[in-house]
């Protein structure tokens, strides 16, 4: 089989990358915040406030990835490209469940769509294999496995996010009931009793 020439993805400009912190630094900050100490959480908040456009930028990065994968999957066939784009739109709508998702949820939905396309591409690429070398066959097998795992992980992350949102909605409901009983301002009660929720609202897109 001839080596398939795939179109190289467009490189993101340096200004786009400037809207994101250093990968390693961000990873460390998230890990420290997850460690449970207040200092780690403060560091993460500081980093997110330094890069307020990160949510939008990662969303754009994901859209770029989706476009690249659609182009690769369609392989120059305009009709196929339109059909894949329709499927992407349909999947996004289905995952949104008719609601207007929050910024993190939009990212997660985009992530599920992107990893789904990646699985389709990996399947397509391995289906086109003929009398290939062992190295290429192993590579395609690993690629199919790893993209499937990423898809499963993306779906799991979306599920977990929705479970967390249900818990947070319960807290907000409790705060609303307390505010009503005290005849106080809901936002004020939320700020006093759950200050991190208020900070989250400011930091998350």
């Amino acid at each position: 089989m001839a080596v398939e020439i795939v179109k190289e993805p467009e490189q993101e400009s340096s200004s786009e990358a400037d809207h994101r912190p250093d990968r390693e630094l961000f990873d460390e900050a998230v890990a420290a915040a997850n460690g449970g100490d207040a200092e780690g959480l403060e560091r993460l908040e500081e980093l997110l406030s330094q890069f307020p456009q990160i949510w939008q930028q990662v969303g754009d990065l994901n859209q770029h990835a989706i476009r690249t994968l659609v182009t690769l999957l369609a392989a120059g066939n305009v009709l196929a490209q339109q059909s894949i784009l329709k499927s992407v739109e349909q999947l996004t709508d289905d995952l949104s469940e008719g609601n207007l998702p929050s910024v993190p949820e939009q990212l997660l939905i985009g992530g599920v769509v992107c990893s789904w396309l990646e699985v389709q591409l990996a399947i397509n690429q391995s289906a086109g294999l003929g009398d290939e070398s062992l190295v290429r066959s192993r590579f395609h097998l690993k690629l199919r496995d790893s993209s499937r795992r990423r898809f499963e992980s993306a779906v799991r992350s979306l599920q977990q996010y929705r479970i967390r949102e249900v818990e947070l909605a319960r807290i907000k409901e409790k705060v609303a009931a307390e505010a009503e009983a005290q005849q106080a301002d809901y936002a004020q009660v939320l700020r006093t009793e759950y200050p991190w929720l208020d900070r989250r609202a400011q930091l998350v897109g």
Binding site: L61, A65, C114, F139
Partner: protein
Amino acid sequence: MGWKESNGRRYYYRSTNTEGTISTQYCGSGMAAEAAAMGDNQRRLHRQSQYAEDLQYISHVSEGHSVALDAQWWIERLVRADACLSGFLRHNRGSEWRRRHGS
């Protein structure tokens, strides 16, 4: 695999690895040994060029997937950051999220 010299004469040996067992085959000396060595050399060069082509192919195919990989990495970390800000802690390598003590 290679040449060995003994008493001023060169002898060619071919080593093969069969399921982890190395076996050495005597190929003689003179013209027969030269022909065997040349054949082995050609096969080795072919293997090397095939391997280089494979690596190029792998890097080419991987490029399409690497954009998605980068986007997914950032989404995952941002959502983890959001969970930490919402008072949750990640447990069991992400299989569950628990409320942080006092939140």
